[in-house]
């Protein structure tokens, strides 16, 4: 278990050292969201209605950005071998990496999502529901993303393959996340959509690391 936190600590330290890479996903999120008012016009009603969808799509795409280096760097420089020999099951190595991805990408996205949603004229009473959906949502994206990243390790053009692999898995997350915010905006209860997101998270939490761990083992072979 100790080794699990050592992996996360090391990942966080590396992310701090490569600050530009780390901030890249966040800046991408803010910039793409800022493009929407330019593209669809500054009408406040339209923007307010579209805001949950815009925030979710931008967050999803931003979370994909760092994925191809998630295991790729360790695979290229031999550090993956050392991780697999550290006495941890491969699934725990994968889970630790998913947690690092969430701390470095998912958490900043949630923090930025509030201001971005307000900038897009989302009703302030809906913002908490949007953020409540993003909490399990970004965690799910980290789990699916780490699984995809482990699966394409060693593949030629893995970076192209990765979104094709992860986006279909992320579709239900997007649907329920936006549904929760839309329900709140039309003054209905968002509980059903939020609970479905949590159910997805409960299923993905054990399954994704197991799949990613097996993929890491086979990549090392």
């Amino acid at each position: 278990m100790n080794e699990f936190f050592l992996i996360i600590g090391r990942d966080l330290r590396l992310s701090m050292r490569h600050g530009a890479d780390t901030l890249g996903a966040l800046l991408f999120f803010v910039l793409t969201a800022a493009l929407f008012p330019l593209a669809i016009g500054p009408s406040p009603e339209t923007l307010g209605r579209l805001a949950p969808g815009i925030v979710w799509v931008c967050a999803l795409l931003a979370a994909l950005l760092p994925l191809d280096r998630l295991f790729g760097a360790d695979f290229d420089d031999g550090a993956l071998d050392q991780l697999l020999l550290a006495g941890q099951p491969a699934a725990m190595v994968a889970l630790a990496r998913a947690v690092s991805h969430w701390l470095v990408t998912g958490l900043p996205l949630i923090i930025a999502a509030g201001p971005v949603a307000l900038m897009l004229n989302l009703d302030p009473t809906v913002v908490p529901v949007l953020l409540a959906g993003l909490l399990p949502g970004t965690a799910l994206l980290s789990l699916f993303g780490s699984t995809g990243a482990a699966l394409v390790l060693g593949a030629r053009r893995g970076g192209v393959l990765l979104p094709l692999l992860v986006l279909p898995l992320a579709a239900p997350v997007l649907i329920f996340g936006v549904a929760a915010a839309d329900a709140a905006a039309s003054e209905q209860s968002p509980a059903a959509a939020l609970l479905l997101l949590c159910a997805l998270f409960a299923a993905a939490l054990p399954l994704c690391p197991l799949a990613a761990g097996a993929a890491l083992r086979s990549a090392a072979e």
Binding site: L6, R10, R13, L14, R17, H18, D77, G78, A79, D81, Q82, L84, L85, A86, G87, Q88, P89, A90, R217, A220, E221
Partner: protein
């Protein structure tokens, strides 16, 4: 990759894997580390199947591969983690402990990879061309590490084309 082979290493023993490029030396080392795929056969440790619990086997093994597995963005000390000072001392890099590894030369990176052997005690050392790029002083220091490891009953398996600073070494020739 290679034909049927069988060998055993006693406590404090050392075996050198020799053979031309592509004869499967690295593959054999990775299989024994539990990283490579074993098509047929077994790896035994103290009479038990070593690869039955691959995560547990990882703790028995210290593996130094082709690649140094050091992160250029971290300092030497951060790269090694807990117990770094003992490792840095063993390879003579103490004075560079807080320097980011991107400033290291290839030989110094290799020494940092070897320092990992001293950081975490493991009975089995699997070494793939460990002395590639090392100067003579570093090779001597590495010889002392090898001797110390074998004195405590550890075993060494090394694939190399360069002479290693070890006595009393068995040889396994792969063709």
């Amino acid at each position: 990759m290679f034909g049927p082979i069988s060998f055993s290493v006693p406590a404090s023993g050392a075996i050198l894997l020799v053979g031309p490029n592509g004869s499967g030396k690295s593959t054999l080392l990775r299989i024994m580390a539990g990283l490579g795929r074993l098509e047929a056969g077994r790896v035994m440790w103290n009479g038990e199947d070593a690869l039955a619990d691959r995560a547990g086997h990882g703790l028995r093994v210290a593996y130094v591969g082709h690649q140094d597995a050091v992160k250029p963005g971290l300092t030497a000390r951060e790269n090694l983690g807990r117990g770094a000072d003992a490792g840095l001392q063993a390879v003579g890099l103490t004075h560079l402990a807080d320097l980011p590894v991107r400033f290291f030369s290839a030989g110094q990176k290799r020494r940092l990879a070897l320092a990992r052997l001293a950081v975490r005690p493991a009975p089995i050392w699997l070494l793939d061309e460990p002395t590639l790029g090392l100067d003579t002083a570093s090779v001597d220091r590495f010889g002392a590490m090898l001797a110390g490891h074998r004195a405590t009953g550890g075993v060494v398996l090394a694939a190399t084309h360069l002479p290693l600073p070890m006595d009393d070494v068995g040889e396994l020739r792969l063709v």
